[in-house]
Symmetry: C2
Subunit: 179 residues, 2 copies
DNA sequence: GCTTAAAGTTTAGATGTCAAAATAGTTTAC
DNA sequence: GTAAACTATTTTGACATCTAAACTTTAAGC
């Protein structure tokens, strides 16, 4: 089988496993992974606008709106219209929201975490930087030169997430809206 | 930032990039990634039942049914009830289906593929095996021992996809159905 | 032969996800 | 100061995806 074919299969398995875990999490903790992620983001930053959240957790605003609708319906978050700028909407945790969030397990599978943490340090780095390289290569639409392609990159494990967002031309900018 | 946190971010970016590409593909080729994947699977195997397809592309049968509904509505595939065993339904490509499939780009981003293929051979292996390890660690629910955890594994790049399916106890078996 | 269990497929109901359109509010330009 | 341009959020419409339940056959028991 061609290598890229294998890459594709591995990716699909990862994506599926992630999705399945989210559902399992939802049963156990009453929160899906994205819901938990958003709650955590709000907890970490205090009040946040939709746009902030979207950028923070890497989804579109539309998605944030939908998810917050559900969280609000369950009284886990509150929305408050901005006073200074009424276009903005600020979300904050309710007591119940903080509560449920704190009792929920991590958004990454525990088995995975356990296994991952058992690896040697260099192996963890290796895996992390491989993932970051894949992410970078995929988002590559808006990477000007190709610093990610030079060989040394593999063992530097620098935070690619930052590096990517920096070039926010259009690809994953969540609110590009170039109509 | 904790390493597992970074892993999580990288994964989310990969998943999102994959999804976004699927949508782009859909505009360009009229097929989303999963639709294309299913078409390719059917093309490769000839007639297939829902269950076969589900196993092959790693999704649940329900998903296959839904996607085939859409493909059938567009006359890209045909369904045929089994004669011997009428519970089964066989899907096969129509002429139009083979056509559109062959004209579509790959289900993996072209930019990614281009970049990936520019890497040194050993780097490709490294990335592939990292992905496979992550997939394995995630699906780990039904892996008996832990061959994936021993250190040598990282540079062997053996087809984990096979290795995983082999233990098909329940985790991703697509039809567990323990009611 | 009828009843029950098993197997395969489909349907129903939930989420997450996005792009594009609609809405509402702010700024800027003249 | 009003119109045009811009910005933030929500709504709409479409997919993909899963689990659980329902349905359709087939196979097995008695």
């Amino acid at each position: 089988m061609a290598r890229h074919q294998e890459v594709l299969i591995a990716l699909r398995q990862i994506i599926r496993a992630t999705d399945l875990y989210s559902r399992k999490l939802s049963k156990v903790a009453g929160l899906t992974a994205p819901q938990l992620l958003i709650l955590q983001a709000i907890d970490a930053h205090g009040e946040m606008t939709m746009g902030d959240i979207a950028t923070e957790v890497s989804v579109s605003q539309a998605t944030v709106t939908v998810i917050l609708d559900r969280l609000e319906k369950r009284a886990l978050i509150e929305r408050k219209r901005g006073e200074r700028d009424k276009r903005r909407v600020y979300a904050s945790l309710t007591h119940a929201g903080r509560d449920i969030m704190e009792r929920a397990p991590t958004p990454l599978q525990e088995e995975f975490m356990a296994r991952f943490s058992h690896l040697e340090d260099w192996e963890q780095s290796l895996i992390l930087s491989s993932l970051q390289r894949v992410a970078a290569m995929m988002n590559a639409g808006d990477i000007d030169a190709s610093p990610v392609l030079d060989l040394g990159a593999i063992d530097r494990a620098q935070p690619a997430s930052e590096g990517l967002r920096r070039h926010g031309s259009n690809n994953h900018s969540t609110q590009t809206d170039q109509k």
